[in-house]
């Protein structure tokens, strides 16, 4: 991929981000008042809705500017851009990194779930060992020792010493 194509690929990502920002801002207009409360103006001339709607309006304007400027730059760039092959290349070149990122998020969700359900020491030990594995360590003895000692240290620090209600 040459420099111009790279720029175009980055601009495409900017467009996607612009769409996300715009979706958030427009979504705010439909979700700011989940209880359907009446809009009664108070003594100061503001209601509970004034501030979030003002911010959402500003975000919509800014999001539109960002999206339009990215889109115009994208159109002006004359190099060829094939979305599918770009995605394929990115996945192929960064497979391990993407896997680690996705794995980290999933692992964190499972860990959070485990803290609430099972013992903190055991859940931390499992998490640490799995995370070491995810980050491509294969020295199992060192991983096991670090997981056990690390969890023990964390347990002693937070439960015994700091007395956090975990």
């Amino acid at each position: 991929m040459n420099k111009s194509q790279k720029i175009k690929a980055e601009l495409f990502k900017d467009i996607i981000m612009g769409i996300i920002i715009l979706s958030i801002s427009v979504g705010c207009f439909f979700t700011y008042n989940p209880a359907d409360a009446p809009l009664e103006v108070g003594t100061g001339g503001m209601t509970f809705a004034t501030y979030p709607l003002a911010v959402a309006s500003l975000l919509t304007i800014l999001g539109l500017i960002y999206l339009l400027s990215s889109f115009l730059k994208y159109i002006k760039n004359s190099s060829k851009f094939d979305l599918l092959s770009n995605i394929k290349n990115a996945v192929k070149n960064n497979q391990s990194l993407y896997f680690k990122r996705l794995g980290s998020v999933i692992l964190l969700i499972i860990y959070a779930r485990m803290i609430g359900e099972i013992n903190f020491f055991i859940s931390s030990m499992i998490f640490l060992f799995t995370a070491f594995y995810l980050f491509e360590r294969r020295d199992y003895l060192k991983m096991s020792v670090l997981s056990v000692l690390g969890s023990g240290f964390l347990y002693a620090l937070f439960i015994y010493f700091l007395k956090l209600p975990i």
Partner: protein
Amino acid sequence: MFEGLIGGFANCFDPINFTLLFLGTFLGLLVGALPGLSSPMAIIILLPVTYSLEALPALLVMIGVYVGTKLGGSFSAILLRTPGTPASACTAIDGFPMAENGQASLALGYATYSSFFGGLTSWIIAVTCIPIISAVALKSSNADIALIGIMGLVMVSAFTRGSMLKGFIGVCIGLLIGSMGMDKSDAIERFTFGSLDLLTGVPFAAALVGLFGFSVVLSDLSLMKTTSQLITEKFKIELPSFKDFCKRWRAWSIGSFFGAVVGAIPGVGADGATWLAYGTVKNNSKNPEKFGLGEPDGVIAPETANNGTTGGAMVPMLTLGIPGDASTAIMIGALYLHGLQPGVTLMKTGAEVVYGMLAGLLLAGIMMFVIAMGAIRFFVYILRQHRSLLFPFVMVFATLGAYASYNEIFPVYAAIFLGVFGFLMEERGFPVVTIVLGVILGPIIEYNTRIALQVADANWLTFMDTLPRIIILGIIIFLVFNEIKQGLIREKLSKTK
């Protein structure tokens, strides 16, 4: 003021507080030396540890980390050419060539000396300015506080890296996150999506952990495979002679000046200060051609500026509740988590904490100097360790930081969501510090605007009633228009290219 400061020192010399400050500084040096882990991340790691502490001890740990990371970053910059923190990138330009020329120990000595000196100078400026500004700020009314908050948001958006448009978008997203939950004035739900967990809004700890913890881990996973190759195996810190250091007065005075002044401007942070100081010293040097080849002034200027920002950043944070950088943003969050209200009233309601923090800032600078001299070999040993051993522990601490804030899983889920979102934003060049600032300042701005309008009987002209308000409005308008103008110029230049 002196009484307060003496009281602050007395509090810091309490054995537990002193030990915590020492440990914080030690950890700061350690984390700062590790490329990819910065000061905000280190403070986030410590967040769960501080929950069971009183406000002052908790903040002293954070101040120790804040000061320690500034110097720690230069270790890897000099020995590896890989800056430990973004602000140390400038130090690598001349620090690494010095190490290549066999002067690694001296380069580390210059960095340590300069960091200490920069911190000391900015501390003097901070303790002089804070009581004066606080005395004026205490007279602020609701309208003033709202305007100061807006000015802080605009300044951070304007001065953080990248475009103001991206900064503003980040701020708006932060403001919306901050408005989630029950409205304080009318007790009506906003953006709760029918969730009971969201009635109290997004937990502050979750926002901090997500945006400064998880998002950084996700981003830094790309560094996982990098290994650290040291330029030399034999080193210690060799301090330059005092005479030699004094001879280089131009470099350290310029560095100290930029550190203190730029540090006090919300949003610019140490990165901007170091480059400004380096550029100025180089341009004013009789031998600018020597820069980049191992010129000691090229280490002194950025390092004094780097640590000089610590005192500068404290000024808007402790007087106006506006953070100078990401680390002070988290400290503002810590003040909230410990039941204190940051802002113009902090000097009135939490003077003991303010003076304790100021005393801690000076002591942390001294500790940083002593620890660096004694334990440089240990830091370099850690620096050579593989990150795959470190990141899982960072993730555990960050998870606990969110979990222990409410003792519920919900803040962890919120932190993970915000972490992924923050990571995506950072990847596209949106500074996440603007989001956090929006979360912090949003409720303050809204509350004070509503009160000000109630007092003025819904007259919006109340925001132009007094000279200070007109000046603040003028600054806001100037910053916005100037940034639009700069953006248009940049656009024109890119078209001509």
